[in-house]
């Protein structure tokens, strides 16, 4: 039987149980928490790096988590084409581990942002957006202090040319940027993908938008893709 989806818990993760709940209870895909000291990820169909403040955000957000024992096997999993989703702090960890380009800088407001936002899906060519269409608008919450995506001009041009911008901040009508880009991300980027598309980082939290009781359930539209990933696993 497939190991389903592994949700990696680092010391200081706080979105791990949210992600587990979303996957297992809301989506109905097998999932379990994976301790940061585990090194065997072979059974999983997909991996999620959750939000939080791993290692207290010491030095830089995500900088210390990249040395956890689980990260080398994660790297191998990604290199084999395994689907990986880094949410918020998980995105920061993936950039620090150089599995995704760029970095997440302090919000331009210097404030912690905790609110609902909209993002425009920019590509369906990743396993995590395969059930969506380019141009779809999702309403998702954000909760971050270091959320401003940054990459140099050359890198951003490459991401654009290769269709690796996964999502951008927009208003409810899908108009990208402006006030909707509250944290000051370059090109209003809210999420990017690896060259192969299988590793995706996203600042907003789809796992916290899985029920109208939570304020919205657009996150399900993205996370449901995990069913396909796990079903496709041999």
């Amino acid at each position: 039987m497939s190991g389903g989806v592994g949700v990696i818990t680092f010391p200081g993760s706080n979105g791990d149980v949210d992600a587990l709940h979303a996957l297992r209870d809301d989506i109905g895909v097998p999932a379990r928490l994976v301790d940061h000291r585990e090194t065997d990820l072979a059974g999983f169909g997909a991996l999620v790096l959750p939000g939080g403040f791993s290692y207290g955000d010491y030095l830089r957000s995500g900088a210390i988590a990249r040395f956890a024992p689980v990260v080398e096997p994660l790297r191998a999993f990604a290199a084999r084409g395994g689907p990986v989703l880094g949410i918020c702090n998980g995105f920061q960890v993936l950039t620090e581990a150089h599995l995704l380009p760029g970095a997440l800088l302090r919000n331009r407001t210097l404030r912690f942002h905790c609110h609902w936002t909209h993002v425009r899906v920019e590509t369906a060519a990743t396993p995590w957006t395969a059930d969506l269409d380019e141009g779809d608008v999702l309403r998702l919450p954000v909760a971050h202090g270091d959320g401003a995506y940054y990459a140099d001009d050359e890198t951003v041009a490459r991401l654009e040319a290769e269709g690796r911008v996964v999502a951008r901040y927009c208003d409810a009508e899908g108009r990208v940027g402006g006030e909707a880009n509250a944290n000051g991300s370059v090109a209003a980027i809210a999420g990017v993908a690896s060259p192969g598309g299988n590793v995706v980082g996203l600042m907003p939290h789809p796992e916290r938008a899985t029920d109208p009781l939570l304020g919205g359930d657009d996150g399900l539209r993205m996370l449901r893709a995990a069913l396909t990933m796990v079903a496709a696993q041999v």
């Binding site: 030095l59 830089r60 900088a63 950039t95 620090e96 380009p101 760029g102 970095a103 800088l105 302090r106 919000n107 331009r108 407001t109 210097l110 401003a148 940054y150 990459a151 140099d152 000051g184």
Partner: protein, 117 residues
């Protein structure tokens, strides 16, 4: 700068007595990378009446004590630490500002360069 008796590599030298080098590392955002903290500090200085401040960049300062046989290998080691962890080369530039033999607590105190009343 070369240190006498360094880099023999012929295996014939006796083990060097362990020496401790203290390196000061300054890390700043690269040019062009937004630094909202530096901008806020600039604003604070302006509020205090320092109208002559043109710009502020904020970063980090590290003092690292490293065991190495000589200053060259200590520097090589600290530079590697900077590339791998102390700085993120995507967004930050660093400089090993000073490196000298000594121990960390006894190294040049920051209060030697100001901050006293």
């Amino acid at each position: 700068m070369t240190e006498p008796g360094v880099g023999s590599g012929d295996g014939s030298v006796l083990a060097e007595p362990e020496r401790t080098w203290v390196a000061d590392v300054v890390v700043l955002p690269k040019p062009g990378v937004n630094d909202p903290q530096g901008e806020a500090i600039h604003g604070g200085l302006a509020s205090l009446g320092y109208a002559d401040v043109r710009r502020v960049r904020s970063g980090r300062f590290f003092r690292v004590a490293v065991a190495a046989p000589d200053v060259h290998s200590a520097r090589v080691s600290v530079v590697a630490m900077c590339d791998q962890l102390l700085a993120n080369p995507v967004i930050e530039a660093y400089r090993v500002a000073n490196i000298a033999e000594g121990d960390l607590e006894a190294a040049v105190g920051l209060d030697d360069v100001g901050g006293g009343s």
